[in-house]
């Protein structure tokens, strides 16, 4: 580890165009369970990956094929390593059937391993697990961790806040394998039974929901820190994607303040929340669009947020609001090494086990 990679993109979204393509990666009985038109039609709703183009113009989104995505994103933007975060995996939180979620998670992992990791050496996978079924998730993590190209675990945001002991077996398995947990909002938050709510309830507009995505990070980071997850799992790291970071300075000040006022509610805390935040929490950059232009203002926000320890580049490619690497120019050049590869190298599982 060192300067092996110049630019790591921690938030790239591959796609399964046809859900039936995952069938070879699940037991026959489960294929039969899923093989009906309603499931396949629902799973095939991939329009948002076409950008604003209709299917007649763009028949297949760029993220349906590993070579196409490598050409249009990795080659064009000189990306040395890309963490694949399958949104169809993150969306497994919307299923009430935990066993089915676990089977689909495993099938997605099998599909992306075979189709994507084999296609280009620059790909790494965040292997997804079913949050509803910790025992099955542990088995999946142990199995996938044998592949050195698996660099993280994708944990869909489920009903219970992330500090719950429900997740302890999942965290223990990830910690043991040296894999960070990745969390990525899906846009269904507040819409289904089983998924987390945004603060204040369900909003009418997509714009509101987009603006409030970081609330999911704030809510779960509070829960993780105050409920002692990082005391129970001192080696665990948790990446929050698509929440950017400018909110985090004010947030951790408040965590510290309340930890001082209510220490008797959490006598297991050995350090102030800021310390846990800097050591265990990671945030990806996108969306950077609202960051003030100009080195000094953005630099001050980054400094107060401890961005040098916690923030890593994530493009969210190819969603319509993705950030190409030049978005990082909004941040001070002194931070570019840590943003472009340093934090990712010390967070993702990079080492290849012998």
């Amino acid at each position: 580890v060192g300067d092996q990679f110049g630019l790591i993109d921690c938030d790239v979204h591959p796609l399964v165009m046809n859900a039936a393509d995952t069938f070879p990666h699940m037991p026959v009985a489960w294929r039969k369970h899923f093989d009906f038109p309603e499931f396949l039609a629902a799973a095939a709703r991939v329009d948002r990956y076409r950008g604003m183009q209709p299917a007649s113009v763009v028949p297949e989104p760029v993220n349906a094929d590993p070579r196409t995505l490598a050409a249009v994103h990795l080659d064009s933007n000189r990306i040395d390593l890309a963490l694949l975060v399958p949104m169809q995996g993150a969306s497994l939180n919307a299923r009430v059937d935990g066993a089915a979620s676990a089977v689909l998670a495993s099938a997605l992992n099998g599909y992306f391993t075979e189709r994507w990791l084999e296609a280009d050496a620059r790909y790494r996978l965040a292997a997804c697990v079913a949050p509803q079924e910790p025992k099955r998730a542990v088995r999946e993590i142990r199995q996938r961790a044998k592949d050195p190209r698996v660099a993280a675990v994708l944990l869909p945001l489920w009903t219970l806040p992330m500090g719950s002991t429900h997740y302890d077996p999942i965290y223990a398995a990830a910690e043991e394998a040296g894999l960070p947990i990745v969390v990525h909002p899906t846009g269904v938050e507040g819409h289904y039974q089983g998924v987390q709510q945004l603060g204040g309830g369900t909003h009418r507009s997509v714009s509101s929901r987009q603006v409030l995505l970081h609330e999911l990070a704030e809510s779960n980071i509070s829960s993780l820190i105050f409920e002692g997850v990082f005391v129970r799992h001192p080696g665990l790291r948790v990446i929050f994607s698509e929440c950017s970071f400018a909110w985090s300075a004010a947030f951790i000040w408040r965590l510290d303040k309340e930890a001082r006022n209510f220490y008797f509610e959490m006598p297991w805390m050995k350090e102030l929340p800021t310390s846990y935040f800097r050591r265990h929490i990671r945030l990806t950059t996108q969306p950077l669009g609202s960051l003030p232009l100009g080195e000094s203002a953005a630099g001050e926000v980054a400094r107060l947020a401890h961005a040098e320890d916690t923030v890593m580049y994530g493009s969210h490619f190819p969603l319509y609001d993705h950030d190409l690497p030049d978005a990082l120019d909004r941040l001070p050049s002194a931070l570019h090494d840590s943003l472009r590869h340093g934090v990712a190298e010390s967070t993702l599982r990079m080492a290849v086990p012998a």
Binding site: T165, G228, V231, R260, N261, Y263, F264, P267, W268, K270
Partner: protein
């Protein structure tokens, strides 16, 4: 530097003190609370180092001991006073803030009981 000799002042008999009830003494212009708790006798200045609240109007209590996540352990009963204004806890023995959230210490005084008489040790201050 010559250490200033502490003066010993009587503050009453043991039976004058109701359990966990501070009695306030004005000694050389200082307001000092003396209390008998199940952990012994303590004397502490009646001023919170945080924002100057009358600390001895707070409750005498214990505190949560360090523990593993999801478990609570209560201890140090009678060794802690909670400030009535902002709820910060201080050890009666040392004046130290329990969780360190207030950096300055409350001022604690040495106290002794001899044959039922209670004495406090303070630096004399002449006006």
């Amino acid at each position: 530097m010559t250490p200033i000799a502490l003066e010993r002042r009587p503050v009453g008999r043991v039976e004058d003190f109701t359990l966990d009830q501070f009695r306030i003494f004005e000694l050389d212009g200082r307001s000092i609370g003396v209390v008998r708790t199940r952990a012994g006798f303590f004397a502490i200045k009646n001023t919170c180092p945080h924002e100057g609240a009358p600390l001895c109007r707070g409750d005498v209590r214990g505190t949560m001991l360090p523990s593993s996540p999801g478990n609570y352990r209560w201890g140090r009963e009678g060794q802690v006073v909670r400030c009535p204004w902002h709820g910060y806890d201080f050890y009666l023995e040392s004046g130290k803030c329990v969780y360190g959230e207030v950096r300055d210490r409350a001022i604690a005084y040495r106290i002794e009981v001899e044959q039922g008489d209670v004495f406090i040790y303070i630096k004399p201050r002449r006006s």
